[in-house]
Symmetry: C2
Subunit: 374 residues, 2 copies
């Protein structure tokens, strides 16, 4: 399968149009599109365009309710609990982080825990919203169960990413990572590429190492067992219990504090039960915000300039790769897998949108060998 | 080298006496002793008794100033910055977490960042202080540089542990883990046992994998290069950049926000420059604290009962091993390595304390092959 490059503007128009067709307001469609395309612009294919079909399926199956709006069900000057009422994850999450930012600007810090939401896209998008206001932003989420706890064979936790963003020069600090070795999206991408998974990523239904992306994804969907290993692998020797513990922190701040659904209990009757947490902190509550920003910028520069391992010519700081990727991708276009484009075509047909309006005479090739797993 | 088992009460008396002899008040000596022995009781040898000698050396070399007290240099209702003034890490940290707890009880949340401190022992001790008050406790610290960033060959970050504790039944959730694959203390323990390190833990001075504990520790002390890998190893395939990012979060909340010393710049003129962060959060700012505690307890129970991998008969939740270890160790005694006991003997001789008062006619055997590395 090959990749086609498409202009950001083209995909932006397509996504906005599609989400409006689904019934979202123009403002909501813009938020959802921004979350998806930020991921593609940052070079993170797994959480970008390639997820369109999954949202489409979520809406069609009644897991995501287009018309339901988030509401605050508990609040203090430094905190809130948001009930997403089973709406679209990105819309709920934008609402919740906006509330956290408001609180940080008045009380110095805001923590908003959120229940009954859906997949919210790239965790870092929300952390960055706070960072763009001069604040430290933190975002985490649980997901459908996909992480197998240390010594287990059944997925009981989500990929549970944690994102932290903080203003710095010349690049903001921007960290966004699943607490599993890799994300589910990475498995989807390998499946679309038709490549075996690297060793050390996934477990089959009996809890044994597997490199078969379609099989692992299928087992996860069927709740048949297996899943992705925690960061640190599947044994304590290299720290499996640490990745598992980091995922627990996500469950606590999202599902536990909101009295929402833990990853293992999502799906079925709890479809649309995903939980998140959003934190915004004003650096001014620790003194001179400009001095703090400079101190971080200096440290990041020192890290980038530190001695390289043999065969390496660059040490990255978190957020740097994303800035470099965005510059390149805005010039070259966003690469989209042909298998994803076939899904987009199906989506356009379903919504009564003219595929050729966006993509001219390009038509995605058939690929009967591809096993779609959602 | 063998291990001797000693009663908790014996080691408690020894530690209290020794720290009073160093010039600490009885109250301060109790805090320091409690931090050390909590680690031993939890079965974490690396951060317990075996660290006595390192503190002794820190005090002797003027890195740790016995008489200097922590002070608040900036404060808001939800935050504070503490300057440790180069005093003893445990005393400074107890002061700072106590302040965070006070703020959580009035404002719902307290974040206290701390600079110019020293090694503070087990991170989880401070998280547990908050947990014992019905709060969520978080503690993190930087350390002398020991983590080599992804693609680097020089240690630029600390082992940078993060600890989170939260009330639950029948065991509190208690997570305490370095963001490196393992801690420096683990290397010290392997060195004392005279055993090679497992693969995947450490790098030599050229950034190549090493299993020689004494060599790696020596290089770290001499700032000659090498160190411990981030959680996730030394390449991106298994998530090295994630462990490195988690360590960055520690640097931000400890050294950056306090305008203190980042791990790479500690030592030398910045001896005693270690930085920490302490957070306490009252679950009541999210609603019904008892319901939240029950929700967490239920989830932890579900995890423990989930299906086990082949060859495993138990899935642990974080904090469970510590509870089991404490029960066993209070009965059987705390195991202390003979090499550590020789250091304790030297300490007693230096302080004019009668070693036999605590340990009867036991005398630690000589071990000329042991290379002490501090």
């Amino acid at each position: 399968m090959g990749y086609q490059h498409w202009k950001y503007e083209t995909l932006n128009e397509l996504c906005n149009d599609a989400f409006v067709k689904f019934g979202f307001t123009a403002e909501e469609a813009k938020i959802i599109t921004d979350v998806l395309l930020m991921s593609d612009l940052y070079g993170i294919e797994s959480h970008g365009m390639q997820r369109m079909y999954r949202y489409f399926k979520g809406i069609k199956s009644g897991k995501i309710h287009v018309d339901r709006k988030p509401e605050i069900v508990f609040e203090t000057p430094v905190s809130a609990v948001v009930d997403g009422n089973g709406g679209m994850g990105q819309v709920i999450s934008h609402f919740a982080m906006t509330k956290a930012i408001e609180k940080a600007k008045t009380a110095g810090i805001g923590i908003v825990t959120t229940r009954n939401s859906n997949h919210y896209g790239i965790a870092g998008y929300y952390a960055k919203l706070a960072c763009n206001e001069g604040l430290i932003g933190i975002s985490c989420t649980n997901t459908e169960a996909i992480m197998v706890p240390t010594f287990g064979k059944k997925a009981m936790l989500g990929t549970n990413p944690i994102a932290v963003a903080m203003p710095a020069e010349p690049y903001d600090f921007f960290f966004d990572a699943a607490t599993t070795v890799v994300t589910r999206g990475k498995l989807e991408v390998y499946n679309k590429m038709g490549k075996p998974l690297p060793e050390g990523w996934a477990l089959d239904k009996d809890g044994k190492p597997s490199t078969d992306a379609a099989d692992v994804l299928g087992n996860i969907n069927a709740h048949a067992g297996g899943g992705i290993m925690p960061l640190g692998g599947s044994t304590e020797k290299l720290g499996s219990h640490k990745g598992y513990g980091n995922a627990m922190i996500c469950e606590i701040f999202s599902a536990i504090l909101s009295l929402g659904t833990t990853s293992n209990a999502t799906g079925g009757a709890n479809a649309g039960g995903i939980c998140h947490c959003f934190v915004a902190i004003d650096p001014k509550i620790f003194g001179d915000a400009e001095a703090i920003k400079q101190h971080l910028s200096d440290y990041l520069q020192t890290l980038r300039e530190s001695p390289k391992a043999e065969g390496q010519d660059r040490i990255y700081t978190h957020g740097e790769k994303e800035v470099l990727a965005e510059k390149r991708i805005r010039e070259e276009g966003i690469p989209v897998n042909d298998n994803t484009m076939r899904e987009v075509k199906e989506l356009c047909d379903h919504l009564g949108m003219d595929f050729s309006h966006y993509f001219g005479d390009y038509l995605p090739p058939e690929n009967p060998g591809f096993k779609q797993v959602y």
